[in-house]
Amino acid sequence: MSTNERSIWEKIADQLRSKSLWMLHYCTGCGAIELPPSMTSRFDMERFGMGPMATPRQADILFITGYLSAKTLRRVIYTYEQMPEPKYVIGFGSCTLNGGIYYDSYATINRLDYYIPVDLYIAGCMPRPEALLEAFNELMRMIRKGEANGWKRYKENYEWYKQNQLRSLGEVFIHDEFHE
């Protein structure tokens, strides 16, 4: 595919991007509890140049911890579309993979990959902070090699993703609520 071709400038920029990843964590699921130990003294995420960010405008990673109900999925899609490119998504825990223990719930979605492009999944319920750091290192490697192309896939297959979103949510109205 043409998505993997990068100019020399993009290659240099990808090196920088892999070393300074700012993360927006969407913590509605129980996986949020694994983040404090990864950030604080014991596992210390900041030594990789990673850190939490309070707003989607500055975030590189959208970190989805655990299950998403139909209501929160709408917010996740808004948030994802507000992030500046290039952007990466990590699905954390089995809930984002196949629904986990909520696989037959009427209110949650089962596969996050249908709605926004996920670059990396962390399987498990719960994954430990070690798994989290392993995943971050894997994501950095993917960014350096130009394999973390979820945001390009989203643009290329926008109709497909939009169709899936509409099927689950009824309507997805991306709007800028501050400029109306």
Binding site: A13, L16, R17, K19, S20, T40, S41, D44, E46, R47, F48, G49, P52, M53, A54, T55, R57, Q58, D60, M83, P84, E85, P86, F178, H179
Partner: protein
């Protein structure tokens, strides 16, 4: 020659400022018993932010950010770094204080132009906090200006032949340092950018290159603020000893900020107008009475 000196001042601000911010993150990490990011992390952050593709929020937003960065760069060009003075004879403290407001107002305009209510709250807090620290700071500085009978910053530096102003006027020095913490937005006074309350306040709508430019603006304004304190209070210095004193002041501010929680905005103003302002008046009274060591 002036052009070369201005370039030297700006490059010092860029490299030393970003390096020291990285070192501050490292120190903060060590205080919390973490390993911490490498010292060059802030260079990576700035260039990464510049490499991303963000969105604008209209021409007021763009213009405000350029005005903030340009205003702070213009201010920095007037600040003497030890014996490196870009515009000799023009490094008056009033010029620097007035020009510095251009950067702050440009940032306020641009951020309010983004239309996000969190940004408006952050800007309102930043300007309120400015009202808090500027008053005691300027009263303490007025005492210094009255004592040395000059308002040129390098004149104030050269007037400290016998001993540092910090030891001549210890109360004024402490007041200026507490105000400096507020200017830097260090921990007890980081109310305007509180990430957990108002989603990093003024910066909430900044993406990509706008964020990169604002990080540079922040670095340069840190350089202006600490440089003024070092020039006025910490004795005569050449370029190298200036950078040494600068580093020491920055590290002390970082250490204080590493162990303190955050004030609310009304607590900030109440604190500044009670303790440092009274101390500043006491210092001015001492100067008027001639009780200077």
């Amino acid at each position: 020659m002036t052009v070369l000196r201005v370039i030297a001042v700006l490059l010092t601000g860029f490299f030393v400022g970003l390096t020291l911010e990285g070192i501050a993150r490292k120190i903060m990490a060590r205080v919390q018993r973490r390993y911490g990011p490498p010292w060059y992390q802030n260079f990576i952050d700035v260039f990464k932010a510049l490499s991303k593709r963000g969105i604008s929020h209209g021409w007021i937003f763009d213009f405000g950010i350029l005005m903030a960065l340009g205003g702070v760069i213009a201010t920095l060009a007037f600040v003497p770094l030890g014996d490196l003075v870009a515009f000799p004879g023009l490094d008056n403290i009033f010029i620097i204080v007035y020009l510095f407001a251009v950067g702050a107002l440009g940032m306020a305009m641009g951020m309010v132009g983004s239309g996000n209510p969190n940004a408006s709250i952050g800007v309102a807090r930043a300007l309120t906090q400015m009202l808090g620290y500027e008053v005691p700071y300027l009263v303490a500085i007025a005492g210094v200006l009255y004592y040395y009978k000059t308002s040129s910053v390098s004149g104030l530096m050269m007037a400290q032949q016998d001993t540092w102003t910090l030891f001549k006027m210890p109360i004024g020095g402490i007041v200026a340092f507490i105000s400096l913490l507020g200017m830097l937005g260090k921990k007890p006074f980081d109310t305007p950018i509180a990430p957990a309350e108002i989603a990093s306040g003024p910066m909430v709508e900044l993406s990509a290159k706008y964020m990169g430019l604002l990080m540079l603006m922040h670095t340069f304004s840190i350089f202006v603020e600490i440089s003024l304190f070092v020039d006025i209070f910490l004795g005569i210095s050449n370029y190298l000893t200036f950078l040494l004193k600068f580093t020491v002041v920055w590290i002390i501010a970082t250490l204080i900020s590493a162990v303190l929680p955050r004030f609310r905005i009304e607590q900030v103003v109440k604190f500044y107008w009670k303790v440092p302002l009274s101390l500043a008046f006491v210092q001015v009274l001492f100067v008027l009475l001639g009780w200077v060591f």
